[in-house]
């Protein structure tokens, strides 16, 4: 292995990523993410800041067993006026048991003066003493040079002196941090090139923030200039605009630039999974448009693109999606031709022969529906149902006879103006006529409640299903009275599986009912529910 070609990856999802507003990892979250990073082949996993909060204390007290990654504790240099040996913060790091310790220190004269109020010489000894203390305890020492680039622009000599103090005291890595995130790629390249004349690139790291949308490019610029460690987070998590996104950096470094990392081909194929795992832990919808791993990252819409991609994927793809565990995604749009439909069917697990006569019918159905206002781009479950119905695979789990929804705004007994919604539905289920009524916090919610009240006894699979999003769009709004409403409903089941269906009608309640009804049917179809299950359950 050519050592100079080896780039080390340092993940700070569990520390700098945890600074994101709204992010609140549990100890179990931290352990699951650390294990995933280890499996990927990330070199360093920064677990948090022992001594800073109870979650991090508990996590370090029962640190996960990592097979390859170095588990790393984060903290800061000793305080002014205390020896390293008597600094409680530093001791908490050394007592954490982590084999590597990363400390942050000042390197911008403005901050030394303004925030710490000490001399520049004293700042250098804070750094030296702290790194020396870590090395003396047999730990690997890393130094995060805070505000390195802003500092370098203001006073290169002092900023470089801080970095050299850490390096000379025994730091394995001196990490140049663009703390405020305002530095641009050409500046990073020039400054890292200059620094690499004093500290070998094999000991330099880069830590970027995305405040100008250049965190990935800045990290790449530093590597080109010789730095051999990159710090970042999964999905670019991090405060403000986030940290450098390791999920984007990793395949670029390995597959496009030919660097070696600890991540092998199998690790790269886990990238989509690792990215989604973080979103699941954070209860966030994944970013469909995320580079490499997003659901839309290899999506093709136009018919011309689609037939070209079918002939040779490299014509409209910069990379084989399978290398990062992703897949090609052909969007069904109004230009839908047979090849679109065929590949889309394959994606939802339906294989038909290219000359099956039902394909032509399906193309016509999709075109007619899209003309009416249906859109299947964001509603794969709706498309799958449409296709499976055309193939005669979907049972009629229930049949609507009628519904009625009443919304009323009036003064209640306490003199408050309240609005209530009530729905009545009449269904036929397995030959039986059922009438139910329910209230909700809106007409669609009331309908949903009434439908479920009727259906759950027959189909217990619906128990864990819930609405997670509801979107309404008025189409052709130019033509007020003839306007059509499109409703998209996203649902989830107890396992976290999510699906989206679509309904269209001149009446928003009708459109909502159509989407809701498809969503329930999809849930039942996926659960393998059987029409006669009610009789069996009774």
């Amino acid at each position: 292995m050519n050592e100079s070609n080896r780039v080390y990856l340092y993940d700070t999802t569990l520390r700098d990523g945890a600074q994101t507003s709204g992010v609140d990892f549990t100890v179990a979250d931290k352990a699951a993410i650390a294990r995933e990073l280890d499996t990927l082949g990330i070199d360093y996993v920064e677990g948090g800041w022992p001594g800073a909060n109870p979650t991090d204390d508990a996590f370090f007290a029962d640190a996960p067993n990592l097979s390859r990654a170095r588990f790393t504790a984060f903290g800061m240099t000793r305080r002014p006026g205390r020896s390293a040996a008597n600094d409680p913060g530093l001791n908490a790091l050394l007592d954490s048991g982590a084999p590597a310790v990363c400390i942050v220190g000042k390197s911008w004269d403005f901050h030394v003066d303004m925030a710490l109020g000490i001399t520049q010489a004293e700042n250098l000894s804070l750094i030296r003493d702290s790194i020396a203390a870590i090395v003396a305890r047999g730990r690997e020492a890393l130094f995060d040079a805070e505000h390195f680039f802003d500092g370098y622009k203001a006073n290169p000599d002092f900023t470089l002196a801080c970095a050299k103090a850490a390096y000379e005291a025994g730091a394995r890595w001196v990490v140049l941090c663009d703390t405020n995130g305002g530095t641009l790629p050409h500046e990073v390249e020039a400054i890292v090139t200059a620094v690499a004349k004093s500290i070998p690139g094999s000991h330099l790291g880069i830590h970027c923030h995305n405040d100008t949308e250049n965190a990935v490019a800045n990290s790449l610029a530093a590597v080109r200039a010789g730095a051999r460690m990159v710090q970042g987070t999964l999905n670019g998590l991090g405060e403000r605009c986030g940290n450098a996104n390791l999920v984007s950096l990793l395949p670029t470094l390995v597959l496009k630039l030919g660097y070696e990392t600890g991540v092998g081909p199998d690790g790269l194929k886990r990238l989509v999974h690792a990215s989604r795992l973080l979103d699941e832990r954070l209860n966030r919808a994944p970013n469909r448009h995320a580079p490499y791993v997003g659901e839309a990252a290899f999506a093709h819409k136009g018919g011309l693109h689609v037939s070209a991609v079918a002939r040779d994927p490299s014509s409209y793809e910069h990379l084989d999606p399978a290398l990062v565990g992703n897949r090609r995604h052909v969007l069904v749009s109004d230009q839908a031709g047979r090849s679109n439909i065929l590949s889309r069917l394959m994606e939802v697990g339906i294989t038909l022969s290219p000359d099956d006569p039902r394909i032509g019918q399906l193309v016509d159905t999709v075109k007619r529906r899209e003309f009416e206002g249906y859109a299947y781009d964001g509603a794969e479950a709706g498309f799958e149902l449409l296709a499976r119905r055309a193939l005669g695979e979907v049972p009629d789990y229930f049949h609507l006879t009628s519904f009625r929804v009443l919304d009323e705004r009036r003064w209640n007994a306490r003199g408050e103006l309240v609005t209530m919604s009530e729905a009545t539905t009449k269904l036929e289920v397995a030959g039986e006529s059922l009438m139910t009524v329910a209230e909700g916090n809106g007409p669609v919610n009331a309908l949903d409640q009434a439908l479920r009240k009727a259906l759950i006894p027959a189909y217990p699979a619906l128990e864990g299903m819930r609405l997670v999003d509801y979107k309404v769009r008025i189409l052709t709004p130019q033509d007020g009275t003839k306007a059509v409403t499109r409703v998209m409903i996203e649902s989830a089941d107890a396992t976290g599986h999510r699906w989206t269906t679509v309904g269209v009608s001149a009446n928003v309640i009708d459109a909502s009912f159509n989407a809701l009804s498809d969503s329930i049917t999809y849930c039942l179809f996926r659960a393998g529910a059987r029409i006669d299950s009610r009789t069996a359950a009774a």
Copy 2:
């Protein structure tokens, strides 16, 4: 002005951005976005592809009146085997009336061979003839060289010949497109530097996609290498991983790199607004972490940061957020809140003295409402009403006692399943109690009809008012039962004036009523209606 320092911005939100999965602009959306881009100071607004679909045809047939931006039609080079004069696609572009026409053509030998199946020489004449036809009709011609970077890597001579063919035929701009999005910043810089030896940088543009998360950095690299046009979209909208994000590029180009653009300081201050406007039109939640414009872009979490920021913002901020219309999110000082409100009031035409005591109350009201889920970025009329009510300027034109809406789906006399909505309202108007009932094609439409039936006799100004758009968003969708619904209603009057109001409630019908009621009130206020007008009319 130093011409070489001037960078031209070309927005393709309405064309390449419209390729995004799930994005489906209406003609009204396109017009609103084009107007906003014009107000910002963007040089070129690409409206779409006339002849490709009914939406774009309708949009070009009634093109918005732009004051500064060049309205641009997009299409492709003439087809092989047809003269430019007889090519229906090209003629549709020339007949669209747009003063600038941008056509895309092949520049990668692999595509010429595989997708078009023509000789390289024939491809060059497709380009030459098409550009010449545009120039001959007195339009400004632009050439998008598809797959330029992939093509250049494979066969630099041919790819460059394509670009030169366009330039020599009279193209004002030759735009180098990284169509598949896999090119990295250092490659872009090297290739654009080489190309600029044959075609002056003042005629070169760059068009990047974000497949490696480098679209912004790639665009900056091209500008550093001499290109003077940047193509991109608002919020980086675009298929797969998106196009280069103009919202991130613009402040970097102007505020960090000192380039001149058509966007002045006032335009930059509209950046947050422009970004949110697009999200509202797409019915999407804004990205809190978006560089420069995200709600969290200048948020400070750590206590240390906060006090340092209070002492000197530059210590933890790369830029003054006010320059791009954003604000620091710490404990918002009363002064910051006041100046924010003052500038928003000025925008809607209300001038108050900075020390008016009512400003403090208004700041509190807006904060409380935004906490509840109201959003005024896309609803200026809602904000104006809120402010004018606080100032005691808005009469109580009517008072709701109660309403009731019934939606019913049932089999009609002809054996068809129909859904009908009927609303009953009880109002007090000018001291009189009025009860009306009306049908509609949905509950909100029925409510609207019933309200108008009651109000038009008293307020004839409502006669020409109509609903043009209706959008629903579920806030906090993680928390199903406690979710709050936000409704935005766009209305228009007979003169074509449009305004948007907002309503929030746990119940979607209630939220809709709130927005509808504000919309009617705004219409009456604008028309200068007087409460006693009914008596006068009777």
